[in-house]
Symmetry: C2
Subunit: 344 residues, 2 copies
């Protein structure tokens, strides 16, 4: 197995990305895994020297350009095609590796994955699946890539999310729900109502109905499907609330000496608490529906977070997530064809 | 001033509602305010007796029916028109009071307000404005009433939310933002893009652009506008996250004796913390755009929460929120007319 890694993209690139891949390469899960680093060779060698990192076992693909957060998503196809992100994706498409990991511009990574690496046959739209660190892990499909979706897309998102949760988290028969403004089948817009019908009639899915926002954190489902607009707003709101609570707790503990003492007594618990809700601990978000494994690591990833994203990529390859999705997509296409011929 | 109060609707009605109105009536803010209680007179008199409550100063409108959470919203116009919710709204429409407060079925209260009490002239759609207890209070317009809205509705939601935050919270020139999946003007669907244009060109509004979910909790704006689907999901997600954090904290503090000690040292701070994020402390959500003041109290309101919702209704009447919204709506209509004649 070979993992292609974008060293140059991300708020803390290239240093943390380089630290991350070196960290990952030493772990048991990376035994027998080869790495290709994409980035400015000179800078990487210099960094490795400064930080006493051994990068002699890695293949290096030299690039001089970087695609930033300010670049348009489509720039990966045009003016920034020679960026580490663009070169990495083309190497993946050319079969030079099994997975690609990048902390770069989400939009560009999504567009580039769809247009360069291409979607799995039958999948109409890829989706970003952020895994929310709640009572139990939950994948939000889509987390922000496509603001406009159809009920058929949502059906495919459900299938891809199920495949992922089952392969990566070992969830048997993942519970799929539609994120909605009420629990009844009639709730939502035409989109949710039509998707409800579709999911209800897919016998291969463990569809548990609609889930409301207040139930989302309490293990109500393993996969929540929604359009990317709602997914983005909910994901970021949850992130923001986590930060707000953490800040408020800090302020509370600092208010007087007794509380500072209390803080010291409970510090480890609070650290665990913070860790539990920290996105960094949970690696990156898979871009599902692409014909190869693509993992979007958090933009602000440090070395540890980035190594977690690499681990995730390795697990996806080992578990054959893409093949599972391809088989499901073929089943859906087959069923659609049969339904169409039944109607005639 | 006379406030009409629905005593029979809500998870803990009629007891907590009756306690709430008695509690409110004793406060300074209710000096000179008269109350009309709508509900089953026999039950109310019995409850008053059992709880030693003096309800002799209240006018009573006897009703025997109750509209429940399971009833269809439109039932307030038909089979449940004699419910406390329906009778209260008709009394408000008939000019028998200045405001109506109910913990009842949100959909029915919204429909009934729009159809019985009627909207302010020029307002195309009323909205429910939940006030989120974050770093600073923030009104979410719409919080769940209308899953489908136009950019013109969003413009009116912005104006109504501004009027409310300015009148009730004393915010000078409230900052209005569109809840969106990115900060740039080009973000979102056609709805958000068109609304951006509208808000940007309204010189009377303090439009601060788009706000993302992760910025929402950190005093980024005073009014956030969105469709009711997104509003509902975000509002409930925030509620759910609050509950999750509170549960996790409890578990953490109970883990060992030292932590229990720590908990005792910090208990008051934690109580304040919980209080800060407790919707009950913040009264109810106004239904804005209606020609009279209507306050939706939380379904699970206890007496204290319900009295807070009554206080909110009194403040709305005192501050003339409806008149302010009517003047703004007239201005918008005037500007629309002028723009149309300019185009000819």
């Amino acid at each position: 197995m070979r993992i292609i890694v974008d060293i140059m993209s991300g708020d803390r690139a290239p240093k943390e990305q380089l630290l991350g891949v070196c960290r990952a390469a030493k772990q048991t899960y990376a035994k027998g895994v080869d790495f290709t680093l994409v980035g400015n060779e000179e800078i990487m060698r210099q960094l490795a020297k400064e930080n006493k990192l051994d990068i002699s076992n890695f293949e290096i693909k030299n690039t001089t350009e970087v695609l930033t957060m300010c670049d348009e998503p489509m720039s990966v196809m045009r003016e920034k095609k020679e960026s580490s992100l663009g070169v990495g994706l083309r190497a993946l498409a050319a079969g030079e590796g099994d997975a690609f990991v990048s902390s770069g511009n989400t939009g560009a990574l999504f567009c580039g994955s769809s247009l360069i690496v291409k979607r799995v046959k039958g999948i109409q739209r890829a989706a970003i699946g952020a895994v929310l660190p709640l009572t139990s892990p939950l994948i939000l499909m889509d987390s922000g890539a496509s603001v406009k979706v159809s009920d058929e897309y949502l059906h495919q998102f459900a299938i891809m999310g199920s495949a992922y949760m089952s392969a990566i988290y070992g969830v048997k028969s993942p519970r799929v729900a539609i994120l909605n403004n009420g629990s009844e089948a009639s709730k939502g817009t035409e989109l949710q109502i039509a998707a409800y019908e579709r999911l209800l009639h897919d016998e291969k899915l463990n569809f548990v109905g609609n889930v409301e926002g207040n139930k989302l954190p309490f293990d109500a489902c393993d996969v929540a499907v929604c359009d990317g607009f709602v997914g983005n707003v909910v994901l970021k709101s949850i992130e923001g609330m986590g930060k707000l609570f953490s800040n408020e707790l800090k302020t509370m503990f600092k208010k007087n000496p007794l509380r500072v003492l209390s803080y010291l007594l409970v510090k480890r618990g609070l650290d665990d608490f913070k860790k539990k809700f920290d996105a960094k601990e949970h690696g990156g978000a898979p871009i599902l529906g692409i014909s190869k494994v693509v993992i979007k690591a958090h933009g602000s990833s440090d070395g540890k977070a980035f190594s977690n994203a690499i681990r995730q990529a390795i697990t996806c390859v080992n578990q054959g997530v893409v093949d599972i999705i391809a088989a499901d997509a073929a089943r859906l296409a087959e069923e659609k064809k049969r339904a169409a011929s039944d109607e005639q």
